[in-house]
Symmetry: D2
Subunit: 365 residues, 4 copies
């Protein structure tokens, strides 16, 4: 257990390196009887796949998923679901050059000190490619959440570099390569084109929302729902910040403003982001994350080699100039994985609880 | 396992309610041979104790800790360390009135739906009082980290409500009730006095820093060091946002700026906040958290009762107008708990790794 | 997490030393709404209490339990249930003599090498006294199992030393100090009296049975129900052997005999001991355990001291001549703890499963 | 987490069904830098492979292992090691007939009630075939234990049906299909031939021994080394009984006989089986297990179908008449997996402990 398993009851064990033979995961704890096919999973994988626009890495990975176990006659059996994705675009080359120096902002240096060695092929285990199995597992989670609770998990980009992106509609998100909730993304395209020409990279901010989440999910004291959401989000490659609901803005709010009033018609506001005291309230769960600029850039950087001598490092290869662009489906998957895990945990302990009255509406509006 | 245990190898199991007979925790996995006394723990508990200034709740809880097990002749034995804190200021009163309505911004509503009942005494399990055992456990973690690795964990307040607090020096922190790193806190006192008179509450932003952290801590993919830090910080009562290093500011940074250059003399900057790829680099670990305003305020709020009827709620009692004020020692404790847990996890797997060259300095300066 | 927590969802974290200030445990994950009082728990504790007959240790420990948390107005709230038992009979004496030598058959030697030190007071953490919190937690488990599923867990002694004890009736068990299912225990009393006079000790064999266990409990591949039962039983102090159902006798059985036939009226036999493929079948769960003779005997034994020099060791103090005598309520508690944990685990994953037809009867008879 | 992960720090997550596309496992937590190749693992897999003698199932599964990740340039990297074994001998046939009735002694009935469905292909998840990934993972564990501690894990058969097998020498074990420690196995062959002709099956008893185990492994209270050994052994398909050291024989032993005396030259006996108080003593760890007769026999059995009606069941197909025959390498693998897990757990907590004097010899002889 070196940190490659996510979850308590619905667990995802991730394996593989970017340029090894295959990547994948094993899901344990999925409820039996859920309709599931490779096509269901492939749809989400295709959303994060590289090479789909000029703004992302041009690596051509089909990311074709194979279900190895746990599904029989189109339904989950309750046994482990192993998902396999063969790597196909591992360009054969000599890694010995870059294997001897550390890229600034990369895990190279820390990995080498931790393990006494490192797998330099394409970033090895630190590659964002390892989010593919997470997305695949998330697709299973989403399917169950939708069927069992009607839960919908959606995400979009709200900022790229310095450019804030207003929220127009969820409708626009699938129709542009940025997952931006706007009809016209020409400004974003110009921004990214200029950045790419400059040989530089930028960060991004994303918003992820889960609707129709049952009230009562979350396990205080330490495994609060927001704590577990923060865990997975901060664990997403390149994420440096996480907010729930009003987030940092709540620092300057007054108590008379921040606390969401309850009415017989529903909640009057959602500063809490759907979670109070670490437990879901039934409102939309609102998460915002900040992603740093890609470290793999072609501009030369000052660094050292494994002997401690100063070197200049240039990262060649096909890298995303903004890793945030492809991160939306990953963040959605992570939120879905936390929700299914907590839905099962809640059912385990409180499966017999009968509330005296039904929950109020998510919104009074 | 309903979320009341923190950690993987150095575990803290927390118990108790705000107004029950006692609160406390059981620490399992502490290395044997560590010098430990009740006085060592009491020092940290006293830093978060209520009633120490007019800006915090006036409840008088001595929070006297008793070591029930795991220590023999002044040293830890490697067996569980049980810590007990008796509650002394449980004002006897009738809770039936507030037991029937839900306070906006409180866990009341969600708890009641989750468990089918709730313990209304002083907020029960949702009370910030339950952070006391966490602080006590953190004191044990800090002692080991300091002895074994020279690690120092420090925190301070950087904003209260709308008022930003500049960083002057760590020296000032112990000398004012706000844990503010400034010599003159009169502006903060005036701000809090006005707020209290208005019957309102405000949020706060804190910074927590760990220095002399060994390189190599963190377990990618999912249990990255920053992921686990985000988990504990977001799990702290009232926290709505967490940043590591440059945090949300990294969204607008360019890759050429964000990536911290390595030099033979040390790292040239620390945008990473001491963690890259989920693994510590040896630099200072920099965390920032945003805390919402206290929900328990004397101003009347709109809400509903357990029958779903509209009611007006006023929270009486002795509450902190800004829970962020006493949160600094708690955040420090949480960071220390994550670090000791990862130090032990790292040792388990990589205890035989010998690095070819020593780590570089945390800072080139 | 140094092994002091039992269970996955219904967890028991045990703390304390035999001669420290207190022992106890924290139960996390208990379903809310269960009726629970200290008297409910005390009843089971009293069954394993020392000093109740001349055949067990004459230490006078009242083992009075105090519920510190998790219960409000006579019902569990779903939050951690902390149980505290103060030690009262810690005879104050100088342990330095025995602290320097190792008792054969004791954990002294292994503990000293493991932790680099040991707590010699009354056997410290290795004392059978630490089973008291397990029994207390088991009482909570039994209460829930009885209320929710009608499950009954019972145990009895089937052999003491060379003396086999026939099964007459469960009725007799509470009426003799051996938990023997026979009306006349005079032979057992004579045997034990002779043994005590000889300054020696003997082993025992116990049987534990759970009836009215729902079909479907157990998590193959690795957390099979029988695997988890074997885990807790072998972990009981002094246990050296565990059998489920026909146990070792099944080695010489033929397949045509061993497999329990299913009929519309119920199972025709129970060689499986209620578990097949690691999953409960609805039949009685049948467990048998073998307990070694007490190591603390007044006869002198050959050993070494901490400097590696040969010494002769005599264990004074008040010890059980047959630890198996008081082990029945402990084994029952352990079985109950495994069952509640698996009932909750099963509900988490399979809570929506509806069987097409009802289970058959446990027995065709 | 539905029980398909074994271990706490060195974890094995098992997946696959007998007649699905593939089986395998993911190992997480393996120390980095260990020399490892597919050939190292294949050697152990070949020992448990079917079809190697007339006394075992004639299924032809090559059980060829592929390392998908975690190894780079012949050494483990510290990241997850995924092992894949493609199924090749899945005879295509109609399972609908047997899918409607339950085989006595099989997991069919319990699985169907647990999951609401079952995968009838070749026994699905309940098949002994799923022990192959466990054996593969055990090979990795053995390699590390041998290199780091010089630990050797060996097993042999000590009884088949009614026939006890004397221990002559470990030398004989690899030279006969029974893993019997005798030179002449003609009596065993005759016994098995007669059994096969009778269309029946029988059980077996195995002994597994680990030598050169460091003193100090095991985590009392609940995760004692013997408890965890009992857990994995009872979890092995068809096992109904587990003994450590003297096992059930210790019931009739006196304390003066059972406790193993310590001398400066080493331990004088090993009734403890190398574990006292749940912690290894440095002596050989001695385990004995009892395995029930195979349930899949061609003799007709009385049973019911999924509608609850009486039916007669005959199991066709290629089954082992004594599953115990191929179980020796599996039991060895399981013991190795427990030992490496505890070696890492011990190092995590007690990595700084320095014993004052070296351990004594395993045996005084």
């Amino acid at each position: 257990m070196s940190g490659n398993t996510l979850g308590t009851l619905f667990t995802v064990t991730n394996f593989g390196e970017s340029h090894g033979p295959a990547i994948g995961c094993v899901i344990d704890g999925c409820p039996p009887g859920l309709a599931l096919s490779e096509a269901d999973i492939q749809a989400d994988l295709d959303r994060r796949r590289p090479g789909t626009s000029r703004h992302v890495t041009q690596r051509a990975e089909p990311d074709q998923v194979e279900i190895l176990s746990g599904v029989y006659e189109g339904r989950t059996t309750g046994t482990p679901i192993a998902l396999l994705i063969r790597n196909t675009d591992q360009r054969s080359k000599d890694y010995s050059a870059i294997a001897d120096s550390f890229r600034p902002g990369h895990a190279d240096y820390a990995c080498w000190h931790k393990y006494g060695l490192r797998d330099p092929r394409g970033g090895g285990r630190s590659s964002a490619r390892l989010t593919a199995p997470t997305v695949a597992a998330g697709a299973v989670a989403r399917q169950w959440l939708a069927e069992r609770h009607g839960t919908v998990v959606r995400g979009c980009m709200t900022q790229v570099g310095e450019v804030a992106i207003p929220f127009e509609s969820w409708e626009h998100v699938p129709h542009n390569p940025f997952f931006a909730p706007v009809a016209d993304v020409s400004a974003l395209e110009d921004y990214m084109d200029a950045l790419r020409k400059a040989g530089d990279s930028c960060g991004a901010r994303l918003r992820v929302v889960a609707s129709h989440v049952p009230v009562g999910l979350g396990e205080p004291l330490y495994d609060k729902l927001d704590a577990d959401i923060a865990h997975v989000m901060m664990g997403l490659n390149a994420v440096k910040a996480v907010e729930i609901g009003a987030g940092f803005a709540s620092v300057a709010q007054r108590g008379t403003v921040h606390g969401d009033a309850l009415t017989p018609q529903g909640f009057a506001s959602n500063n809490a982001g759907g979670i109070v005291g670490g437990i879901s309230t039934g409102q939309d769960i609102e998460v915002s994350i900040g992603i740093k600029p890609t470290s793999s850039i072609i501009s030369p950087r000052q660094s050292i080699d494994t002997a401690g001598r100063p070197v200049e490092v240039v990262t060649k290869g096909r890298h995303d100039p903004c890793v945030g662009i492809r991160a939306t489906p990953i963040a959605e998957a992570l939120l879905a994985l936390v929700l299914i895990d907590h839905a099962l945990r809640h059912r385990a302990q409180c499966g017999d609880v009968v509330a005296a009255v039904p929950p109020i509406a998510a919104s009074a509006g």
